[in-house]
Amino acid sequence: MPGKYISNKTIKNILLIISLGGMSLHAYAGKGAIQFSNNAFKQIMTTDKKGNKKIDYVKPDLVLPGDVILYQIKFKNISHQVVSNIVINNPVPNNSKYRSGSADSENSVVTFSVDGKHFKTAKRLTVTDKTGSSIIAKPEQYKAIRWVYKKSLKPDETAMVSYKTQIKK
């Protein structure tokens, strides 16, 4: 059509539609330099014949209030170049509360947020109580977790962060 061009805004909208429309509510991974995966496991505690307790992790087929869920978030560099400045953000899922001390901090600085915007370490994260005083936030008040990965990721290198939640009763 002579004299008629599709604007950048329209192209942007087309790309947005393609990217969002292609998403599934089930596991999906972004394509690019990082192969990114997110998996949930239900924690179960078993006792062997000797009375020793053992923790296992199974598929979350049967999940009830009070159950503990482990999330493992893996990231692998599938490019030929070093990847740096890695930051992982994860809002605490619906119907769930963060389980105290469960976010691993190996090679990462872990911070938390009670509003999803401002992140601080657990010891510095505060909320305002009914009297107006500032108090340390309880783990069940966390809305989001952030890992700032301190290293770079070489080609083919894989790393993982994880944390646990408990299904609200």
Partner: protein, 409 residues
């Protein structure tokens, strides 16, 4: 605009303006979907069975100085936990009844501790042994007993209001009061006891105002027992339960019975044996106890001439009778008669009823109290006709306070 598909070439002519319009509104639609999706991430409103619990992680990074982002999500279904507790209200305390009375009341609470709204069917059955003290469970309330659910309009059992016979859509962490209404046989003597259990059976929720079907089994193979011989009090014919071991997968949401066992032998399931855990039923028991229909509590206060409380000659003894009708039925022709104690003399014009002075004369209907032999002296007794010659029935739970005084000779 030309679109290539494989080796074919299809030529479409679509105005660019319409493409832009379509793209704009599709983008708005997907943005709205995305916002809603994100909101659900932190929503606590929908915390219940069947919810899709979704976790979305985002990674930001740099490669060759260029920023990039990727997202990964995982989700699963929160399954349905069936858990509830039946509790006797005022546990450990007998519900007083009178032989031959109709409409004796026993109150229970049903608390939903599961994670979904459920209906509950209800049945009251005679059980044994007596859950309280050492008195023997010696009689049965007449069957069928009726069961009604508190409407919330007026607290306490109101026959005109509390007419629901099953619990409709009891939300998680919510309790509701249930009333067992029973008739008591005639010919009983005081302190006879009838143990009664209330059984609650879980049923499907989700349709307000409509009685759900019994949930007969869970995804772990636990089965609900058969219905009681008299059926549930909802008026339906005997509700079948426990007939199937077929365990369907209801769109990914499994069901797990986690209701506790009855605490004691008298807390029976609808199979009329002690309720076991994880069977979709729970029960608790209370007991009716035959008592005199009227309770009289008598107290005395000593008032001596010096203002102290030494019961010396000349001191005044002020007697107070608190008269209460027990049970649930009103009482007619209730006359209280109390003899004047030996070595004391009645103090003229000292009778009062609920704070109102009464005359000593036998002068009904001016009032319905009298001091017997007030004219011939000595007064031998006082008498108060609380029911005004049978025209004013005394309601249960109402306390009438009678006071009179005597002087120590």
């Amino acid at each position: 605009m030309k679109i290539g598909m494989g080796t074919d070439l299809i030529t479409l002519y679509i105005p660019v303006r319409q493409i832009k319009w379509l793209c704009h509104w599709l983008a708005v639609f997907f943005r709205c979907c995305w916002v809603l999706f994100c909101l659900l991430q932190t929503s606590e409103v929908f915390a219940a069975a069947g919810d899709n619990i979704t976790n979305i992680a985002t990674i930001d990074y740099k490669i060759a100085g260029v920023k990039a982002t990727a997202t990964a999500s995982t989700s699963f279904i929160e399954d349905r936990l069936i858990n509830f507790i039946v509790s006797k209200i005022n546990d450990g305390i007998y519900d007083p009844v009178i032989a031959g009375m109709n409409g004796a009341l026993m109150s229970f609470s049903v608390l939903n501790t599961g994670n979904s709204s459920q209906d509950f069917l209800l049945a009251a059955v005679n059980t044994t042994p007596n859950p309280f003290s050492s008195l023997t469970d010696s009689f049965n309330a007449q069957i069928p007993m009726r069961v009604f659910v508190e409407s919330g309009v007026t607290p306490g059992y109101q026959a005109a209001q509390d007419t629901a016979t099953y619990i409709d859509e009891l939300a998680p962490n919510t309790a509701i009061t249930v009333y067992v209404v029973a008739n008591i046989p005639a010919g009983l003597t005081n302190n006879e006891v009838a143990a009664v259990a209330l059984i609650a059976q879980v049923a499907q929720g989700g349709r307000s105002g409509s009685q759900g079907n019994v949930i007969t089994h869970d995804s772990n193979g636990h089965i609900s027992p058969a219905s009681p011989p008299s059926g549930y009090s909802n008026g339906a014919t005997s509700v079948s339960a426990g007939s199937s071991l077929n365990i369907p997968d209801t769109n990914g949401m499994d069901t797990v019975f986690n209701d506790p066992a009855g605490k004691a032998a008298e807390d029976v399931s609808s199979s009329l044996v002690q309720d076991i855990a994880a069977n979709g039923q729970h029960a608790d028991a209370g007991a009716f106890r035959v008592t005199p229909p009227v309770s009289i509590k008598k107290t005395v206060t000593v008032i001596d001439s010096t203002g102290g409380s030494d019961p010396r000659p000349g001191a005044i003894l002020r007697y107070q009778l608190d008269v209460t009708v027990l049970g649930n039925n009103e009482v007619n022709h209730l006359v209280i008669h109390d003899d004047i104690p030996a070595h004391t003399s009645y103090t003229d014009a000292s009778i009062s009823l609920n704070g109102i002075a009464q005359s000593d004369a036998d002068d009904a209907p001016v009032d319905f109290s009298r001091a017997i032999n007030i004219n011939s002296k000595p007064v031998t007794a006082i008498e108060v006709d609380l029911s005004h010659g049978g025209f004013s029935p005394i309601l249960p739970g109402v306390t009438n306070k009678i006071i009179f005084e005597v002087t120590i000779n």
